[in-house]
C-alpha cells in the first residue's frame, strides 16, 4: 500500500446491510488487544486521535443512562457508549504499546493538553436533540473512517476498524432515525433539532482537517479531508428528507489534535479521572 486510503475505497461490503450488526463475526475487544503489535510513535499518535474521540464520546453518552427520554433510549445510548468504550480500549491499548503505558494510564493519567480529541465530541450532551445531532455527525464520520481504515497497512488498526465499522453503522442508523423523527415530529422537536445542528455545525470542519501526521502515515492512516465527499453524500439525503439545511455561520478554530481543547474537556476529565487519581498505584 503506497497510497493513502482514499475516500473512493470500497465503502461497504455486501454483508454491511444498513442497520444490521452481524454478531457472529464480532471480535472481542480483549482479542484485539491481545493481537496488537507494538505501535510506532506516529501510529500511536494516530491511535490516540481515534481512541480519544471514542473515549470522550462514550463518557458523554454514559451520562445519559437513567436519564433518557424513554427506556428504549437508555438501552440504545448505553449500547452506543459500550461500543465506543470498546473502540477506545482497543485503540488506547495499541497507542500505549509505543510508550509502555496501559489503556488506563492513557485514559486516567494524561492531562488535557495530552488528549487528542476533536471538539465535536467534547460538546456537551445538551438536550436530546444536541446529543442526536452530535451522534449523527460523528457516527457518519466514523463510518466513513472505519470503512476505509479496514484497508490500513497496519494490521492492528485494520482489525479494530473491521470490528468498529459494523457498530458505528448501527450508531449511524440510530441517529439518522432520530434526526428524521425530531425534524419532522412536532414544531418543538423541529425547532430543537434545527438549534442543535446550528450549535454543533461549527465543529464539523475540524473533523476533516489534515495534519502533517497523516502525511507520515501513508497507507496506514485515513486522510481526514478525503472523507468529506463521502460524509457529505451520506448525510445529504437524510437532511433532505428531514427538510433541514446545513447550517452556515461560525466555524470553530478547533485544535483538538494538537491538544487545544474546548472548555468542556477539563470538566469531563475531572469527573472521569477523579477516583483513579485519588488512589495512585491502586488496581481496580
Amino acid at each position: 500500500m503506497s497510497e493513502h486510503i482514499e475516500a473512493d475505497a470500497p465503502a461497504q461490503t455486501p454483508e454491511d446491510i444498513h442497520g444490521h450488526v452481524a454478531v457472529d463475526v464480532t471480535t472481542l475487544d480483549a482479542e484485539l488487544i491481545e493481537g496488537a503489535s507494538v505501535a510506532t510513535a506516529d501510529v500511536a499518535e494516530y491511535a490516540l486521535w481515534l481512541g480519544d474521540d471514542a473515549l470522550v464520546l462514550a463518557q458523554q453518552l454514559g451520562a445519559w443512562i437513567s436519564r433518557a427520554p424513554e427506556l428504549e433510549e437508555d438501552v440504545a445510548l448505553g449500547n452506543v457508549a459500550l461500543d465506543l468504550i470498546g473502540h477506545a480500549r482497543s485503540l488506547l491499548h495499541y497507542a500505549g504499546t509505543a510508550s509502555n503505558r496501559t489503556e488506563d494510564d492513557l485514559a486516567y493519567w494524561r492531562t488535557e493538553p495530552d488528549f487528542r480529541s476533536l471538539h465535536i465530541v467534547e460538546q456537551p450532551n445538551g438536550d436530546f436533540a444536541h446529543t442526536i445531532a452530535r451522534q449523527f455527525i460523528v457516527a457518519h464520520y466514523l463510518f466513513e473512517l472505519y470503512s476505509r481504515l479496514r484497508a490500513s497497512a497496519d494490521a492492528t488498526l485494520a482489525a479494530i476498524a473491521a470490528k468498529a465499522v459494523k457498530e458505528v453503522d448501527y450508531h449511524r442508523d440510530h441517529s439518522t432515525q432520530w434526526v428524521l423523527r425530531l425534524a419532522q415530529g412536532t414544531d418543538e422537536s423541529r425547532r430543537r433539532m434545527i438549534t442543535a445542528f446550528s450549535d454543533l455545525w461549527p465543529y464539523v470542519e475540524e473533523i476533516f482537517r489534515d495534519d502533517p501526521l497523516i502525511d507520515r502515515l501513508e497507507g496506514i492512516a485515513v486522510r481526514p479531508s478525503s472523507l468529506l465527499p463521502a460524509f457529505d453524500a451520506a448525510i445529504a439525503p437524510v437532511l433532505a428528507e428531514a427538510e433541514l439545511d446545513i447550517p452556515s455561520g461560525f466555524v470553530a478554530s478547533g485544535g483538538g489534535r494538537t491538544g487545544k481543547h474546548s472548555e468542556h474537556l477539563a470538566f469531563l476529565l475531572a469527573e472521569m479521572q477523579v477516583l483513579t487519581r485519588a488512589h495512585p498505584g491502586a488496581s481496580w
Binding site: P69, Y108, S283
Partner: protein, 327 residues
Amino acid sequence: MTSTITPDTSATAVISVEEQQFNDLIEADSRIEPRDWMPEGYRKSLVRQISQHAHSEIIGMQPESNWITRAPSLKRKAILIAKVQDEAGHGLYLYSAAQTLGATRDDMTDALIAGKARYSSIFNYPTPSWADMGSIGWLVDGAAICNQVPLCRASYGPYGRAMVRICKEESFHQRQGFEILLELMAGTEEQRQMAQDSVNRWYWPALMMFGPPDDDSPNSAQSMAWKIKRHSNDELRQRFVNMLVPQAAVLGVTLPDPDLHFNEETQQWDLGEIDWTEFHEVLAGRGPNNAQRLQRRRDAHEDGQWVREAAAAYARKQSERSEKAAS
C-alpha cells in the same frame, strides 16, 4: 385480613368451570397464560408484583449509573454500563409482562413518578463510594437472585419466562459485584476500608429486601397459594445468609452482625435482630434518597416528553403518508 388469605379454591363451595380450570392448572403446576381466565385477585396481585419489580429495576439504575462517569478503569466502566443497561432491559421485559395483564406502561409510569407505586426500598440508599458497585452486586443482586430464582417457576407464564432471563443476568451481576470487592480487598488499605465500609452499609438493607418476617407479611399467604411466590420471606433470607457467610470469608470482609453464629442443631447461620424500624422508615418515604430517586425519574420523564411526542407525531405522519400512497 384473614379472609383474603384463604385461597379461592376453598372460599366457595360452587365455582365456575373457568375457575375450576384455573385451579386445576395451578394445582398441576402448569402455567397460566394471558388468554386464560384468572381470578381478579390473581391478576391484581400479579400486576402489583410485576410492576413493582419493573419499577425497582428502573429506579435501581440510578445508584449505579451514579458511578458510570467515574468508574476507575475503562474495563469497569464498560461492565457497569452493560449492567445498568441490563437493568433497563429487565424493566422493559417486566413492563411488557404486566401489559399482558391489561396494565398500561403509561399508567405504571405515572404511578411511579407520582410516588404512588412501590419499588424496592433498597434503591433509596445512596452510593457514596465505588465499593458500593461491588456491594450492590454481591449483596443486593445476590438477595434479588434468592428472591427471584423461585419466580422462574411462577404460575403466570410471561412473568416466569421473563424471570428466567433476568435471573441469568442477575447471577452474572452478582459475580461481577463480588469480583469488584475481591479486587478492593486485595488492594491498598484505603481500598479495603472502602469495601468494608460499603458492606457495613448494605448488609442489613439487603437482608430487609426479603420483606418483613413471615408472621408480619400480609400478602404472602395468598401469593403462595397461587404459586406466584414459592418460599416464605424468612426461608429465603436464611438461605441468603447461609450463602453469604462463606463468601464473606473468601473476600475477607466482616458481616456487620455481632450475633451471627452457626447453629449446630439446625445447621444454619442464626442472625441477630433485624432493626425493622429502619425498614419501615425507608418504606414510609423517610429513607436517605427517596425524594431524589423519584425526582430523577420524573425529570427524565418530563424532560423526555417532547421527544416522545415527536416520535409519536412522526409515526402518525408516516402511517398517514403510507395510507395515502396505498389509496
